[in-house]
């Protein structure tokens, strides 16, 4: 009996394990796991519900007659909108790709000296980075707006992309990961005549590929979910997320389309995470996160 259940759960045999407690803990995990996942399953179901099922009383969780109607309506609706959908998609792609790639590059470049060398100011800079992990962006929201307006960046994509390049959590994780690169590797490159930039680009960067993915999985959903915040006002500069959340707020008439939109917004970051999961875990584990 015991071994059968063990096989179902795929539990490896471990020392110091009482089977009853294991079972209780897994029950707990299942209970809370379903609490976590129910809203997501509901979103998936909802997207395929025909309109009459969306407004059924009492409300139903599962879809009875799945339909693609909501997605067709969405395409129609976007086709008729004032700013074409492609514009929103282009804006979102620009922000997300530039913001994520730039962040990985800049955070890595800054992390390499901090991880591998001691030089005047290195401790102070790293302490400031750590401190900045401890406050929420809301603390800086107002002065940030002032800085943006001095720079004349209000209502440009730069106001979203540029600040996202220097996100202190990324630098922190990257630094901790780079500390694992053996010094001998860098020494060898130096003896071969490579300068610091060359070492960074051809030795360090390829070695931290799993860490790129981690930064990506942290940065991508944040940028994908941005609606332009308080910096962007022009309709044709807004993001896909903004356009779609306008539809969600559209009320009863568009409930079906809203359900389809919710699924689309959810599916992209989750897919990205599924693809990169194992590498992300690897980085999070090896980047010792030393005190």
């Amino acid at each position: 009996m015991t071994s059968k259940v063990r096989a179902v759960f795929g539990m490896p045999r471990r020392l110091n394990r009482s089977f009853t407690v294991s079972l209780m803990l897994f029950a707990l995990l299942g209970l809370f796991g379903s609490f976590m996942v129910l809203p997501l399953i509901y979103t998936i179901n909802n997207a395929f519900k025909p309109l009459d099922e969306l407004f059924i009383f009492p409300p139903r969780f599962w879809v009875n007659n799945p339909t693609m109607e909501n997605f067709a309506d969405l395409i129609n609706l976007m086709g008729n909108s004032w700013v074409p959908l492609s514009r929103y998609i282009a804006n979102t792609l620009l922000i997300t790709l530039l913001g994520t790639a730039g962040h990985i590059l800049l955070a890595s470049a800054a992390a390499y000296p901090l991880a591998k060398y001691r030089f005047p100011g290195s401790n102070v800079l790293f302490t400031i980075v750590i401190l900045s992990l401890m406050f929420s962006p809301h603390v800086t929201a107002i002065p940030n707006y002032m800085v943006m307006s001095w720079l004349g960046w209000i209502n440009t994509h730069a106001s979203i992309i540029v600040p996202s390049l220097a996100f202190s959590l990324g630098l922190f994780l990257m630094k901790q990961f780079m500390e694992q690169i053996p010094d001998a590797l860098l020494e060898a490159a130096k003896i071969d005549g490579a300068n610091e930039y060359r070492i960074f680009w051809s030795i360090v960067m390829p070695n931290v590929k799993p860490a790129w993915l981690t930064l990506m999985i942290l940065q991508f959903p944040a940028l994908w979910g941005t609606d332009g915040g308080s910096f962007i006002y022009s309709e044709n500069l807004k993001t896909l997320h903004y356009a779609l959340s306008q539809i969600i707020q559209g009320g009863i008439a568009r409930a079906g389309v809203g359900a389809a939109v919710a699924l689309l917004l959810m599916i992209v970051p989750i897919t990205l995470f599924i693809i990169s999961q194992s590498s992300v875990m690897q980085t999070m584990a090896t980047s010792g996160m030393k005190e």
Partner: protein, 305 residues
């Protein structure tokens, strides 16, 4: 004296020259980081001593913003009370939940582990999916909670969950918890996988009898770096509750029942344009976060002793 000073200076100069490439590598990141994080924090600290409405020149008022905040602003006191309540409930609960679930998941086989990780992590990356909770707690009988309770016969008519002072704060807390298994949860799962199995075997020889002793004497101490990191992330998140409150309870919420320090900050900063006052609110929030972080780190050092 003079030679010592000049040699110190020339040593520094040599060090600076030697490290010039490092500064070049760090420059782009640090420039942006200072521009949009460090300098704004500095401005915010400074502005908190001024009266400033973006139209007139700032006028120095000393501690007046702070005294008004604590003595004359009843709404701030409600916001502070709610925020501390969030911090005391969601902070520790989400932190322990992150660890507990990571710890249980770690016992599963790799495939199921990957699925369960996704299940718990998905809410925090799936963007604005929390609007689903608006449907669950919708005030009419189409709301799932109302529909469910009415069918069970617990209630006879729908409850206005989100515009009732009695329920709204609890609902925001639940949704916040649902969303809170993020970066620290991933760090914990990954940290658990790197624990040296030979430590556990050695522990068994030394008399560790059950999983709870193993947890306290081996697992937790081996994970101290991840635990520290997780604490910083969870504390910051639990003090900064705002979006969820606004999305679910509205802005402002009924009788400020779900008002937090951050929504108060938004109120004065982006609606009333009282920048000095808003900066004082931001400073209080920053001091609260920093203080809690220092305290928590001290407590975490005691683990496994």
């Amino acid at each position: 004296m003079n030679t010592r000073q000049s040699s110190w200076w020339s040593l520094l100069k040599r060090d600076l020259y030697r490290s010039r490439h490092y500064y070049v590598l760090m420059a782009p990141f640090m420039l942006i980081f200072f521009m949009f994080t460090v300098i704004p924090v500095g401005i915010s600290l400074g502005l908190s001593f001024f009266h400033f409405n973006m139209l007139e020149l700032p006028r120095f008022v000393g501690w007046q913003n702070y005294s008004r905040l604590f003595l004359n602003d009843d709404v701030f006191l409600i916001a502070l009370k709610n925020t501390l309540l969030f911090a005391v409930i969601t902070g520790p609960v989400s932190y322990i939940a992150c660890f507990l679930f990571a710890w249980i998941i770690n016992e599963l086989s790799p495939k199921i582990r990957a699925i369960m990780t996704l299940v718990f992590y998905a809410p925090s990356i799936s963007g604005n999916v929390f609007f689903i909770w608006l449907i669950v707690f919708s005030g009419d009988s189409y709301g799932y909670m109302n529909g469910f309770l009415m069918r069970l016969g617990v209630i006879l008519e729908p409850i206005q969950w989100l515009s009732n002072e009695k329920y709204v704060l609890a609902i925001v807390i639940i949704v916040q918890l649902w969303l809170s298994l993020g970066t620290s949860f991933l760090a914990f799962i990954a940290g658990l996988q790197t624990i040296d199995r030979s430590l556990v075997e050695a522990g068994t020889v030394d008399g560790i009898k059950n999983r709870w002793q193993e947890l306290w004497y081996i697992t937790l101490p081996s994970m101290r770096p991840q635990l520290m990191f997780g604490a910083v992330m969870q504390i910051t998140a639990s003090f900064a509750v705002a979006e969820i409150s606004i999305a679910l309870a509205g802005f402002p919420s009924v009788n400020y029942a779900a008002h937090t320090v951050v929504t108060h900050l938004m109120d004065f900063g982006t609606i009333r344009f009282e920048m000095g006052y808003a900066s004082a609110i931001a400073t209080v929030l920053f001091v609260l976060m920093l203080g809690t972080n220092v305290l928590t780190q001290k407590m975490l050092r005691k683990i496994g002793e």
